[in-house]
């Protein structure tokens, strides 16, 4: 991880958000990933998304596990608190952090190695709890830090730089999330910032578990001919099925949408996501339809992208439990016990 701070000089004409901050204020330290790494593009998209959403930096919590992807929280929003945990355990740490303080915005950055192997158990259970967080998987099909072994998301037939092609079925995080009832399921490509930024904004605003699976090519170990997670392959085979425009609260929907292809979805804070259906037959509110469509396109060799499924009504973890709206960590300790006299009444039952 980098410890080189970027110079703090900002051009006076840089646009400011409602907090008076520029996009530069949402940057982190200099990335130490390989030049051309897809993850750096995702980092840039996160910076833009958080800047535009006017999130106070210290009200953002950046969570991660271990791997190239998990280093990236150091590279965005230096003013946010970061928690770089152990391999595959970002979901549990985020669950506990959110349990204690529901007032923060949680962004978790993980990879295919971190989430689909050691972290598979925690990934699926965070979905099951409908934990209120934005969960980004920077998906490149390989383990980068240990120099190029296949991950569980490697496609059948994908060729490594050296050795035999992968023969095992991949674990597709989007299919898993749909099967488990995740309430916001999106896929994008690190090379498509126009699509990615609003998807991240929607994910950060959505109340519940929001997955953004981002194909993010590894330039060093998985960008060669025969790889199905290379820039070239992804550009050739990816298809937008539903794009999303993020509209902040109280803002007007200005864009002109073609009749029958657009669908606004209201989020809990009054902001909206306008879904633009590239394929008019696609229904992003039907899990069954989304799942069937996805499988069909996979069989055709296509990579389906966009906001594939959304359910903005289901209760998130705290709502299910009926917890107080005050963050638990802010409750004074003296308000949390019934006192000495009541203790006597409690222990009287044990006489």
């Amino acid at each position: 991880m980098s410890y080189i701070a970027k110079p703090k000089v900002a051009h006076p004409s840089l646009p400011k958000n409602k907090l008076g901050l520029t996009a530069r204020d949402y940057e982190g330290t200099v990335s130490t990933l390989c030049a051309g790494c897809g993850h750096d593009s995702v980092t840039a998209a996160i910076i833009q998304a958080v800047f535009q959403l006017n999130i106070e930096p210290h009200m953002l919590a950046k969570m991660s596990g271990i791997g190239c992807s998990s280093k990236t929280p150091a590279y965005f929003v230096s003013g946010a608190h970061g928690f770089n945990s152990v391999h595959g355990r970002m979901p549990s740490v985020t669950t506990g952090a959110n349990a204690a303080n529901r007032a923060l915005t949680y962004i978790g950055v993980s990879g295919d190695g971190d989430s689909l192997s050691i972290g598979a158990g925690q990934f699926v259970h965070a979905i099951r709890r409908n934990l209120n967080m934005c969960y980004i998987i920077e998906n490149n099909g390989v383990y980068g830090l240990t120099k190029g072994q296949f991950s569980a998301s490697a496609d059948v037939g994908s060729k490594p730089k050296k050795g035999e092609p992968n023969e095992m079925e991949p674990i597709d995080p989007v299919s898993v999330a749909l099967a488990l009832g995740a309430t916001y399921v999106a896929r994008s490509f690190s090379g498509d910032k126009e699509q990615l930024v609003p998807l991240i904004q929607g994910a950060l605003t959505h109340k519940g578990f929001a997955l953004v699976d981002v194909i993010s090519p590894c330039v060093t170990f998985n960008d060669h001919e025969g790889s199905t997670k290379s820039y070239k392959h992804t550009r050739q085979f990816y298809h937008h099925v539903v794009d999303a425009d993020f509209v902040p609260p109280a803002a007007e929907i200005k864009a002109a949408y073609e009749q029958g292809s657009s669908m606004p979805v209201e989020l809990h804070d009054g902001s909206r996501i306008v879904l633009r259906k590239v394929d008019k037959a696609y229904d992003p509110t039907s899990r069954a339809a989304a799942f069937a469509y996805l499988r069909e396109r996979v069989n055709a060799g296509e990579i389906t992208t966009g906001l594939l499924y959304i359910d903005s009504l289901r209760k998130e973890m705290h709502e299910v439990m009926g917890n107080t709206s005050t963050p638990l960590c802010q409750l004074p300790l003296e308000s949390l016990h019934p006192g000495a006299a009541e203790l006597k009444k409690i222990t009287a039952r044990y006489r």
Binding site: S2, Y3, A74, G82, A97, A99, M321
Partner: protein
């Protein structure tokens, strides 16, 4: 020999038959007569159909540990007749259900066998299979009441309290008690020579298990996040916390909860949740047992290095591996003290009974927040799941909980820059900031190498600087953890040193040894790292009997590692068969060691 208030009753039943409430009734009625009592449950890792025993030791002298004899065996399980009969002391008694012809093996010279047709009596008086089975248990309590001279008025009152809302159950239970009681009065010479008699030995005492006490302690400590994965024998701790919170942690106006209990997918996640919550400033905990500690180890090491408070209860059971999940041991000492790879060591607390579980649950949170590190409360199955007679709990409302060094928004505002791992006070503890409090408080929490400024490092000196400060913190921990309980006389050259649930057996053994003119001093260690008082105690003696409930003398090794205790002085007295240690074992082993010393 006739005795008053010194009798041991052991009840052999089959699990899943509802005998637990009958046994609890028996124990509680003796306690209510003002007589100190010890109850131990020996149960299988099973839901229904396997042998289970409950032992009630009536001890007017107020000893805490289980006995090493059985005066009256209530043999309700034909599967175990032979071994149950063998357990009875010469001159003792065995009670069995004589509805069916007496089996041949139920005969031993010197043991009086008492037959009561419990099944027949219950079948004649109650309807329905389930009621008949349950009432048979209550009926043997009636027989024991007659044999020991337990006050029926006390039993009646207990039943009235238990079934306050169901009057008909009081009547049917009392009917069953009378069936057994009257039968015994008519057929045997009641009471037996070993009987009970009301006394005043329980004033200010309660009967409670350690897990309930710890759960209550967590509620009083202000814990708001509890994450856990079910595992015997720790499960009832979270059950208790949930039950207390459901009553006392609901906002009156909104009905909203001020606690969050998460049943995690595994122990890996449970500890992760605790760290996430504690990082955000909540008091968070997880109860578990040995296998859970193994799984949590990676994160425990993370919390040590990233300096995040965590409270863990290890209700120890018999290892290694799955071991014997419903038997007790103190065999997780080393794995907890040094959990995780790399140079790590962790603060441990050793409660000796449920009273200390209540107290230490609270001090664990204070220590964890003060020291910004995991604190593991080392309970065990014996403490956690058995009912103990202990002093009533006190809560001092004027006591201010220690939240440790947490910088406030105002303090951050005034700072030029905040550095997370900078030791400004020289005690090895760097102030921490909480997320969401102030923009200047932000830092990056990581398990990778970091400098005192909180930044990533691969620089040797910057790395070592932090590792060395953690040792300074360790010494601070040594000075603030609960000190040992010591009983010392300068005339004694030998001392017994133990931890946790070894307390009762060792104290009783001291009395028994003293009766043989062997006087030993006593040190009950209450925390790791070991206080200087422990070091001094060892220095003051020629020989230290280190009494612990594991095979490998783990406590003894820790004394050598942490305070350089002289190995030749430390004589291991190891009890590790899964049953709670008793005084007889300690006495026997001390005598053996003395004999060995004389021979040498």
């Amino acid at each position: 020999m006739a005795t008053i208030n010194d009798v041991v009753v052991k009840i052999a039943t089959v699990n899943g038959t509802g005998s637990a409430s009958a046994n609890g009734l028996l124990m509680k009625s003796i306690f209510r007569m003002g007589i100190p009592v010890v109850g131990k449950n020996y149960f299988p890792s099973n839901i229904q159909g396997l042998p289970t025993w409950y032992e009630v030791r009536v001890t007017g002298a107020g000893y805490q540990s289980r006995s090493d004899r059985v005066d009256l065996m209530v043999a309700m399980n034909a599967q175990t007749y032979a071994s149950d009969l063998a357990d009875v002391r010469p001159g003792g008694y065995l009670l069995y259900d004589s509805t069916w012809p007496r089996q041949k093996e139920l005969h031993r010279d010197g043991v009086t066998v008492l037959g009561v047709p419990l099944s027949r009596l219950c079948n004649e008086n109650f309807e329905g299979a389930r009621a008949r089975i349950l009432m048979k248990n209550i009926a043997y309590v009636g027989v024991v009441a007659a044999l020991l001279d337990i006050d029926l008025a006390v039993i009646t009152k207990l039943l009235e309290e238990t079934f306050a809302a169901k009057k008909h159950l009081v009547d049917s239970n009392m009917q069953a008690i009378r069936l057994g009681y009257d039968y015994a009065q008519q057929h045997f010479s009641c009471p037996l020579p070993n009987k009970v008699q009301a006394m005043n030995g329980t004033a200010g005492k309660i009967v409670i298990d350690g897990n309930t006490a710890a759960g209550l302690g967590c509620m009083y400590a202000g814990a708001t996040v509890g994450a856990w994965y079910p595992i015997t024998p720790s499960t009832s701790l979270m059950d208790a916390f949930r039950s207390f919170c459901t009553k006392y942690r609901v906002e009156p106006d909104t009905g909203a909860r001020t606690f969050c209990i998460i049943q995690a997918e595994d122990e890996l996640a449970a500890i992760g949740m605790v760290l996430g919550a504690a990082w955000n400033g909540a008091r968070a905990f997880t109860p578990t047992s040995g296998p859970g500690i193994s799984l949590m180890s990676e994160f425990i090491g993370f919390a040590y290095y990233a300096e995040i408070p965590a409270v863990i209860f290890d209700v120890q059971r018999t290892g290694p591996s799955t071991g014997m999940p419903t038997r007790t041991q103190q065999s997780d000492l080393m794995s907890c003290a040094y959990a995780s790879h790399g140079d790590t060591k962790h603060v441990l607390l050793f409660p000796a009974n449920p009273h200390e579980c209540f107290e230490m649950a609270q001090s664990a949170f204070d220590l964890a927040e003060r020291l910004q590190t995991p604190v593991i409360v080392m309970s065990d199955l014996d403490i956690g799941m058995n009912d103990w007679m202990v002093p009533d709990f006190e809560f001092d409302e004027s006591r201010v909980p220690d939240r440790g060094k947490v910088v406030t928004a105002d303090e951050l505002e005034k700072m030029e820059k905040f550095y997370r791992y900078m030791d400004v006070d020289g005690d090895g503890i760097a102030p921490r900031s909480l997320p969401g409090v102030h923009a200047k408080g932000s830092y990056f929490t990581r398990g990778s190498g970091h400098s005192r400024y909180g930044s990533y490092t691969e620089d040797s000196a910057a790395y070592q600087d932090v590792m060395d400060r953690l040792l300074v913190k360790w010494e601070t921990a040594r000075s603030i953890v609960p000190g040992p309980e010591i009983e010392y006389s300068k005339f004694n050259k030998a001392g017994i040193l133990t931890i946790g649930s070894g307390d009762g057996a060792c104290l009783e053994a001291r009395d028994r040894l003293a009766a043989q003119k062997i006087n030993v001093n006593y040190c009950r260690v209450r925390a790791f790292p070991f206080s200087n008082a422990v070091r001094e105690f060892i220095a003051q003696h020629e020989v230290i009997y280190v009494v612990e409930q594991n095979r490998d003398a783990q406590l003894r090794s820790m004394l050598m590692l942490d305070i350089d205790a002289e190995p030749t002085k430390l004589v291991p007295l190891l009890h590790y068969n899964g049953m709670p240690i008793n005084a007889g074992f300690v006495v026997q082993r001390v005598l053996e060691e003395i004999a060995k010393g004389r021979a040498a």
